[in-house]
């Protein structure tokens, strides 16, 4: 092992032994392998690929810009590389490991058929700027996925381009902005209403799209009420952004009235589609008066979350906004022949949102998911997801506190930290103890509207046995707290590759890359 500076701490050199073990000689603990950085072990002269080293006859075409110093990037041979990443992978929790009940994230099973199909060379080895006649299958797939999304949502037009949910939000708000421009009301309508419970991306997107954000509080029942919205809906308002079901796991019962009120005043209704999994096939957002909604394909349509991406956030819109969507536009010319248009001749599009067309490999997966379930299966997905969340709710209601009373939830159930009062423990401690029990914690401290939030979204992918096991552990931990146990929670997690990490230190003295100890 190379010498290490004080920041590049190694468990062998500086580590205190984990609380529950004696120290091992190797730094490994059974199957738990300690793994260094590639920079600790690789060398820039080593390579794991077998390309020859060509002699270039002439460097004139490089215009005197050829690199002088060698790149100090470490290389590893294939066996070393494989071992490095396999060991790293073993330090991650994943859906394939167990229930991953992160509220608002819809961590459902990722079917492997979808992986296989996305890797067909007819999709993966395809360039977006090939002549149209060579990519007819890709256009047909885009058209078909669009049809599914429009039918499921009851909306009129779709933009597949957005590369993530927040990118979709931007697309939707920009379409509204463009529509206001055409109406001559853009400078007048500067405000976007956002409930306090919204995802952080909502106010952030609204601000970036050039609007002023006005926060609206929810009522004691966790919902947005028409009478609380009405006073805010002035001629200065461009739109309201709502998540439905909302981030408290509740369906916004006033949604139609709110939509009607906004429309009467010339404003639009944006829906954050992050929670679409709860209502797919049960109700169409278009029927509720929604003007624009993004759909997180990495949530509802099972494309893998991949440790934080890539995602995809197609946007569906109503008639009011259809004209303003970004390119590209797939046009069916008849007889199964498609062409790709970059300009919508009749209308002012918001402009290009991303290079090329968007997340093709995710569209393949999403369509495979939709075809596999069919209209009946997708409806069953929503039902099972909602059933599972309510099952957890009733099985835990006697021990945990629900901020908005014991009402039916949708696909996720929200608890707060009232039940922890006086125990000296917080939501975080509970979550970390759950990790020691082999479960990924629920979303914590979100939504911001309740204190110490615990937002649980089991999804439809869990068997009853899996739900029961999760509930049993949740209850067991809660009972332990009620018995006065504390240390177990404060010291958790103990059985993980790392214990709690010093986040303050990370932010105060940021070390964002490896640096050579010799420098």
């Amino acid at each position: 092992m190379s010498s290490l500076d004080s920041e590049n701490l190694s468990p062998l050199v500086h580590g205190k032994p984990p609380l529950t073990h004696k120290k091992s000689v190797s730094g490994h603990y059974g199957l738990q392998m300690e793994e260094g950085l590639i920079f600790d072990k690789g060398r820039s002269t080593i390579t794991g690929v077998d390309w020859e080293n060509p002699s270039l006859p002439c460097l004139k075409a490089l215009g005197g810009l050829e690199k002088q110093a060698p790149l100090n990037l470490p290389g590893l041979t294939e066996p070393e590389t494989v071992r490095h990443y396999v060991r790293l992978s073993q330090k991650n929790y994943a859906i394939d490991t167990g229930i991953y009940p992160l509220g608002s994230c819809t961590m459902k099973h990722n079917p492997r058929l979808n992986e296989k199909l996305a890797r067909l060379s007819g999709f993966s080895d395809l360039h977006p700027l090939q002549p149209d006649c060579t990519v007819q299958g890709a256009f047909a797939l885009m058209q078909e996925l669009g049809r599914w999304l429009l039918t499921l949502t009851g909306l009129k037009a779709v933009a597949l381009a957005p590369r993530a949910g927040a990118h979709g939000e931007m697309c939707g708000l920009m379409a509204m902005r463009a529509a206001l421009e055409v109406r001559g009301e853009r400078t007048q309508r500067k405000k976007i209403l956002v409930p306090v419970s919204a995802h952080g991306t909502n106010p952030s997107t609204a601000a970036l799209a050039g609007f002023d954000v006005v926060q609206i509080a929810a009522r004691g029942d966790g919902r947005l009420h028409l009478e609380d919205v009405v006073p805010h809906v002035t001629p200065q308002v461009a739109a309201l952004m709502v998540t439905n079901p909302n981030t408290c796991g509740l369906f916004e019962t006033d949604i139609e009235k709110i939509a009607a009120c906004l429309h009467a005043q010339g404003a639009y209704l944006y829906c954050d589609g992050a929670n679409f999994n709860a209502i797919m096939g049960k109700v169409r957002p278009g029927d509720l008066g929604i003007d624009a909604m993004h759909i997180n394909l990495h949530k509802t349509f099972s494309t893998p979350h991949g440790g934080g991406g890539p995602g995809a956030g197609p946007v569906v819109v109503s008639d009011r906004l259809a004209a303003f969507l970004p390119p590209p536009f797939v046009v069916h010319e008849g007889e199964g022949h498609f062409s790709l248009h970059l300009i919508n001749e009749d209308h002012p599009s918001i402009g290009r949102l991303t290079a090329f067309h968007g997340q093709m490999a995710l569209w393949v997966r999403a369509l495979a998911y939709a075809l596999s379930h069919g209209s009946d299966g997708l409806r069953q997905v929503a039902e099972d997801a909602v059933l599972a969340a309510n099952y957890i709710r009733v099985c835990m209601a006697d021990l945990f506190s629900q901020p908005f009373g014991s009402q039916t939830c949708m696909h996720e159930v929200l608890f707060d930290d009232q039940w922890l009062e006086g125990t000296g423990l917080e939501t975080l401690d509970f979550a970390k103890a759950l990790i020691d029990e082999g479960f990924h914690p629920m979303t914590i401290y979100f939504p911001l509207v309740v204190r110490g939030a615990m937002l649980i979204e089991p999804t439809e992918s869990e068997s009853k046995a899996s739900l029961d096991a999760f509930i049993m552990v949740m209850r067991d931990l809660a009972l332990a707290i009620k018995r006065g146990e504390k240390e177990r929670f404060k010291n958790a997690p103990q059985w993980t590759p790392r214990g709690r990490v010093d986040e303050t230190r990370a932010a105060r003295q940021p070390i964002l890359r490896w640096t050579s100890p010799r420098l």
Binding site: G15, G64, L126, L129, H305, Q359, A507
Partner: protein, 452 residues
């Protein structure tokens, strides 16, 4: 349904426990008259095999790059991807995990993000890099927004050689800020004089090298001028393999480097998902968009990694965030990082040299076609040629003969008069046979179409 573990018996037991007679009772909050009572007009569930056949039929209607000679680039490149890359990114623990909000059980992801950030920083010659953005074009727009925040100025100057999509995306993203975006005129023959257009009122200058036509740009004089006027220099790199052979933007004095990382580890995928690279100077760290992974210690003093500086991000700052980005391109960044680890500095250099060699060979071969003019004096692995007729027509006709010969410039610049220009890329995968096939196809098409 094969993906749904609950049985009807389970469902009924669970309904009993909840105290409802049927699942539909749980949907009573949905307005009654809007509640769908029928199935939507879409096909019903299908077997795995049936879905596979259906999607495969669509794939078969595409002409994959594997099917014949292939010379497309323009920001996406077809390189060899070692088999272990795709195998490793399909490890369940990488593929099916989420953002590392619980660092104790996501050190795997955090560890590779830290390595990725370091690799990108070294590759671009910069001090720090983030954990990736959606793609190069959105990274470019984020960089321009960041430069405006830092300098507190707004006019922005884009080089004419910038990938047109990048320029369009930047305009789209910044349209609501009423930022004055100036574009230098497009010069397919090269020889853009950007230096004289850099004025002290600018926030930043955006230059791509190699540019969309394949020309290389010496950023050093631009960096010098920018620095003297406190204007930020943003360099765009869409072919990261070029950095194995050429001076990095950091070495030439860029302040922010953004790029498309697809070429390393990721297939073309018809343009997505991609992986946006974003690197800059340490002093700008708190202005950076996107996720950052940092090194710290755990309760036992062991080296650990954690997402950090989230005070910049939307989930904390909400309407005051530096960017609305939540998702990054994690798995594509992993593919990039694994491939880069397999390459190492030495492998990258070799592949880069091979790419340049193939381009030199292509240029020589094209010179045997008297009707074709190569516009580049400098290039890495991509060049622009002028044909005596519509490049779109030639590309279409060549495709009918199984040859994907390049990108007609008119596809990227519909409003410019570049009808006869074709942009062509080579990589280490281009064989002598494919090049020969291309040249003979062009030769016969130029004769046939020229005679009409």
């Amino acid at each position: 349904m094969r993906y749904l573990p609950l049985t009807d018996e389970d469902r009924s037991l669970m309904c009993n426990r909840i105290g409802v007679t049927e699942v539909d009772d749980l949907f009573n909050d949905i307005p009654h008259e809007k509640h769908l009572t029928h199935l939507l007009d879409l096909p019903q569930h299908q077997s795995e095999y049936a879905v596979e056949m259906q999607i495969k039929a669509l794939a078969k209607r595409n002409h994959s790059a594997q099917n014949g000679p292939f010379f497309l680039g323009c920001g996406l490149y077809r390189h060899h991807i070692p088999a272990s890359v795709d195998h490793l990114i399909q490890r369940s623990e990488f593929l099916t995990s989420y953002t590392s909000y619980q660092p104790e059980i996501s050190q795997g992801t955090l560890h590779y993000l830290f390595e990725f950030q370091t690799q990108v920083a070294i590759l671009t010659g910069m001090e720090i890099a983030n954990a990736s953005l959606y793609d190069g074009s959105t990274a470019c727009a984020e960089a321009v927004a960041m430069a405006c925040r830092i300098t507190q100025r707004t006019p922005v100057l884009l080089s004419g050689g910038l990938h047109p999509h990048y320029g369009e995306v930047t305009r789209t993203a910044l349209q609501m800020k009423t930022i004055d975006i100036r574009s230098s005129s497009v010069k397919p023959e090269g020889g853009e004089n950007l230096l004289d257009q850099i004025t002290a009122d600018l926030a930043c200058v955006v230059v791509q090298t190699p540019d969309i036509f394949g020309h290389l740009h010496d950023l050093r004089p631009l960096a010098e001028r920018c620095q003297s006027l406190s204007v930020l220099l943003i360099a765009v790199v869409t072919e990261p393999f070029s950095l194995g052979l050429l001076l990095s933007p950091g070495e030439m004095g860029a302040d922010i480097v953004v790029g498309e990382g697809q070429a390393i580890g990721n297939p073309l995928n018809f343009g997505g998902p991609l992986v946006g690279l974003f690197a800059t100077r340490q002093k700008f760290v708190r202005h950076m968009p996107g996720r950052l992974c940092g090194q710290t210690i755990d309760v036992q003093g062991r080296r650990s990694f954690v997402l950090t500086l989230s005070a910049r991000e939307q989930h904390i700052r909400r309407e005051k965030a530096t960017s609305n980005i939540c998702t990054n391109s994690g798995l594509c960044a992993l593919a990039f990082s694994i491939h880069m680890t397999l390459l190492g500095g030495e492998g990258l250099r070799r592949v880069a040299r091979l790419n340049h060699q193939k381009a030199l060979e292509l240029v020589s071969a094209l010179q045997t076609l008297p009707q074709v003019e190569v516009l580049n004096r400098t290039f890495f692995n991509e060049i622009t040629i002028r044909l005596p007729m519509s490049a779109d027509l030639i590309a279409e006709k060549a495709a009918q003969r199984g040859v994907l010969c390049g990108v007609p410039a008119s596809r990227l610049f519909p409003s410019e008069r570049f009808e006869n220009l074709l942009i062509m890329a080579t990589t280490e995968l281009t064989t002598d046979q494919e090049r020969h096939h291309l040249i003979e196809t062009l030769r016969s098409l130029l004769t046939e179409e020229g005679g009409k």
